[in-house]
């Protein structure tokens, strides 16, 4: 019986062949924590009584959620994180002005490589599946123990394989594919499991599109996500990598928990309606829904390709007078590239706000919190009750083209309506 890529990566990190269902302590290659999960991590780390972290090069600390500090309490938390980083000589600490949203930043920095086992005190750590790594979301206590010992407990998950066949239509991308997958299996369809995204449509997809897909696997309950590394993956990681890596792939006779086929030939852009990422409808069915705000950004859709797509819809257009559009590049590099390519000018000319990288509005932190009764369309990942602000506000999740088009229309709509 063959092994899944996930079983192989776990085997490599436990020093013995392990199968789905087994409980193991595994060595981790990288531990991530941010400004909202780190204060608890630091508190727990002190309780362990370890004098030093297990490896100062294998920890990444990124103040990205409530930064630039939104209030005094957030400033204190960032300070705590900064002081911990200094005290332990953490190599990969990223200060404001040199940082980005963690799940966009770490792959960009070459810290997430094929075959890695990475844990992060953030549920969207599963994003790293796009480079053929296992990224697993954990809690703050987990992160503290991993920082002290380099190890953590896991149950080796089974894998659900999605096979996307066919050719994507214009304006349909990774966001739509992952929304289709979540819709298919529900918000707990992959609970305790890994998801492997495969098929022709995935091979055709850019790295940015693959990041978007793996990022939202957790919205189907998944422990981690995985895309088999190919030429695109190697081309992406090789110039960034500062250490060697060994890509892993699932054996042809590996046992999957489920294999699900989705043909994308007729798929149109999809929108997840509140209050669940699984509540998915084609954009053409949602044309009477007026919006107050558009958010383009986040660890899901704040990469360069996302901004290019949004800008291509917005070029020469203006944001509807009743709408606020907030564009947030995911990293400083994305910001600079957007500037160089002239995207920034398109957003500003259209009447959008353009911000320094932050998770900000995605989780109702700052930089675009919604009032009672307000409605946003957003390229982010969650539309739970109160996610972006008031419990009586609403969030619709969409790809960057739909978000940009909706901003021009003042209601939910697709790019064809704006460009025709």
């Amino acid at each position: 019986m063959g092994m899944t890529a996930v079983e192989k990566i776990f085997s490599k990190h436990t020093g013995k062949d392990v199968k789905a269902g087994e409980f193991v302590f595994a060595d981790v290659d990288l531990i991530l924590s941010n400004d909202i999960t780190s204060p608890l991590t630091v508190e727990q780390f002190e309780k362990i009584g370890a004098k030093a972290v297990f490896d100062k090069d294998k920890i990444a600390l990124v103040p990205d959620h409530f930064t630039p500090n939104k209030d005094v309490q957030s400033a204190s938390n960032s300070k705590l994180l900064r002081e911990f980083a200094r005290k332990h000589g953490i190599t990969h600490y990223y200060e404001i002005g040199r940082m980005g949203i963690e799940h966009a930043l770490l792959p960009e920095e070459g810290l997430t490589l094929p075959g890695d086992l990475i844990v992060g005190a953030d549920s969207h750590t599963c994003t790293y599946g796009a480079v053929g790594a296992l990224g697993i979301g954990i809690g703050s206590t987990d992160a503290a123990v991993a920082m002290a010992t380099g190890k953590l407990w896991f149950r080796v998950p089974q894998t659900i394989k999605f096979i996307f066949s066919g050719k994507l239509r214009p304006w349909v991308g990774g966001k739509d594919l992952v929304l289709a997958a979540i819709n298919k299996i529900g918000v707990d369809g992959a609970r305790y499991m890994a998801i492997e995204f495969s098929g022709d449509a995935i091979r055709e997809l850019s790295m940015d599109g693959r990041f978007t897909m793996c990022n939202m696997a957790v919205e189907a309950g998944a422990k981690t996500a995985f895309v088999e590394p190919d030429e695109k993956t190697i081309e992406y990681v090789k110039p960034k990598a500062k250490r060697s890596f060994v890509p892993e792939v699932s054996d042809p006779d590996a046992r999957f928990a489920q294999e699900i086929q989705i043909n994308v030939d007729d798929m149109e852009p999809l929108v997840a309606c509140p209050p669940s990422p699984a509540n998915v409808k084609p954009v053409s069915e949602l044309k009477d829904i007026f919006i107050d705000q558009v958010v383009i950004g986040s660890c899901t859709n704040g990469r360069l390709e996302d901004l290019r797509i949004a800008a291509s819809v917005l070029k020469g257009k203006t944001v509807h007078p009743r709408v606020r559009m907030i564009v947030i590049p995911a990293t400083q590099r994305v910001y600079k590239d957007a500037l160089k390519e002239g995207l920034l000018e398109i957003f500003l000319d259209a009447g959008a706000a353009f911000s320094t990288p932050t998770c900000g509005p995605c989780l109702g932190g700052h930089m675009g919190v919604l009032a009672e009764g307000e409605r946003a369309i957003s390229t982010t990942n969650r539309n739970f009750i109160g996610r972006m602000g008031h419990p009586k506000s609403e969030v619709y999740l969409a790809n960057p083209a739909v978000a940009a088009a909706s901003g021009v229309l003042g209601r939910i709509g697709g790019p064809e309506e704006v460009l025709s």
Binding site: I36, T37, L40, Q44, N77, I138, T149, G364, R382, F384
Partner: protein, 163 residues
């Protein structure tokens, strides 16, 4: 350990943004977090819940964000145990790691109603609905999760086994 408390019943897919909204994530004190627990979906919960009370929920409790603030908020409020048909995985491990008792007991969840009086034996996994005179058995916890819980949480476990 035996626990006795009144039931607060919730539906399926209660996410951690519902358990503790993100605007409070710059806090860490369990008691302070507890004051805002569930405020977006059940505003009376944090005001009226008494120490020892038990949260009962349908499938996939604690989905979404990894925030450990969610089990901490429940703990800070004095919730003695969470019983659900199933738990989202990060929430599950956070509870094991910080020592908030959790049980998967699908049949109990179907029978138990809001306000019922429960008696829970964590060792044997027995859930007794005193109000209705019914008894249920929870699914057994995985061995390693039990060992971590018995050590008093992951920090104590790590001190004993990993350092």
């Amino acid at each position: 350990m035996k626990i006795k408390g009144r039931v607060w019943k919730f539906g399926r897919d209660v996410d951690t943004d519902a358990v503790i909204p993100a605007k409070y994530l710059n806090l860490q004190d369990p008691k302070e977090l507890g004051r805002h627990c569930m405020e977006n979906i059940r505003p009376d919960f944090a005001k009226s819940a008494k120490p020892g009370d038990i949260v009962v929920a349908e499938e996939n409790f604690g989905c979404g964000s990894s925030r450990e603030h969610a089990p901490l908020a429940l703990k800070g409020l004095g919730i003695s145990c969470v019983i659900a048909k199933s738990f989202a995985r990060i929430f599950f491990r956070n509870c094991v790691n910080i020592g908030l008792p959790i049980l998967e007991a699908p049949e109990a969840v179907d029978a138990v109603q809001d306000g019922d009086e429960l008696s829970v034996d964590l060792e044997s996994g027995t859930v007794e609905d005193i109000t209705r005179g019914l008894k249920f058995k929870a699914n057994p916890m995985p061995q390693l999760a039990r060992e971590i819980a018995e050590a008093g949480g992951l920090i104590e476990y790590a001190k004993q086994h990993l350092l």
